[in-house]
Subunit: 150 residues, 2 copies
DNA sequence: ATGAGTGCAAAGTATTTGCACGTAC
DNA sequence: GTACGTGCAAATACTTTGCACTCAT
């Protein structure tokens, strides 16, 4: 374990989640939580697959990664945060407050930002339409400071 | 032509755009503008392809639709507004002010909304990070009024 | 006349699925 | 022991591309 997220608690919560769905608590599923927590940054599935297959300790197949990613999304541990070039960029969201992203179209850099005010306005919009929000995604594409200067 | 957008002016502008890029002004490219304007709602490419192939007057192949959609996006006549289930939903944006979307995860309904305040806050965020925004996409997924009641 | 555009079929990506085998319970 | 989970390879879905023919200039 390289970082600060307490995966033990998380794995316990995921175990409960799986039990409620009458699904089995497997080593592979719990391992994947450790792996993603270890990876500790935004990821595309292909990237995660390659990174995991380069490890010798824990191994999870591509199909199981896809299957488990879906479960973890439903569970709420990860989110699809950016859709770009027909790829999905995921993020491990446990222990982090909600934020959105600035994405540089030139170099691909991802900048996270938090705006309570934007969140609040979104809630107001939803209320105005009697819409019950579940999740949202705000992507601002543009040029980062460095790429503007080039 | 079924609706209010003046495609003649739009086609003229697109012609200029193509000239500047040293690309040819073809019947197919201009036809596609009419077709999308005619379609007059959010669309997925597959949907547009089927609708176009059901017409007898103008026909454009799937490959050319993909190729021209990219050009029209660069030109600014259409936008990728929603990414859902690994599909892209486009929108014809000519003559319309910028807006974002509430998407019902149950029935798929799309509700458009405008919030000047959210736009303004986004600009402030960008400024704070010296980020030059080009376009953005805000998708709020949740349950529409009808689906909440069910 | 010439090179870019188009349509078709084939190839590429990303993701899902069927099936035989393994594992949780 | 039984049913669900996993890994593999095959299938699917969406998008792009190579090529021969066509059309804009």
């Amino acid at each position: 374990m390289l970082m600060g997220v307490n995966t033990e608690e998380l794995k316990k919560a995921f175990t409960e989640f799986l039990k409620k769905k009458n699904m089995k608590i497997t080593k592979t599923r719990l391992d994947l939580i450790d792996l993603i927590a270890d990876y500790n940054k935004h990821f595309e599935i292909e990237e995660l697959v390659n990174w995991i297959s380069s490890r010798t300790d824990k191994r999870v197949s591509r199909s199981t990664i896809y299957r488990t990613i879906k479960l973890l999304e439903e569970f709420g541990a990860i989110k699809e945060v950016i859709k770009k070039d027909n790829k999905t960029i995921y993020e491990f969201v446990v222990g982090r407050s909600h934020h959105d992203h600035l994405i540089c179209v030139e170099c691909g850099k991802i900048i996270e930002f938090v705006s309570e005010d934007i969140e609040k306005l979104q809630d107001e919009v939803c209320e105005a339409y009697s819409f019950k929000p579940i999740h949202h995604r705000l992507e601002i594409f543009g040029l980062c400071k460095d790429c503007q200067e080039k």
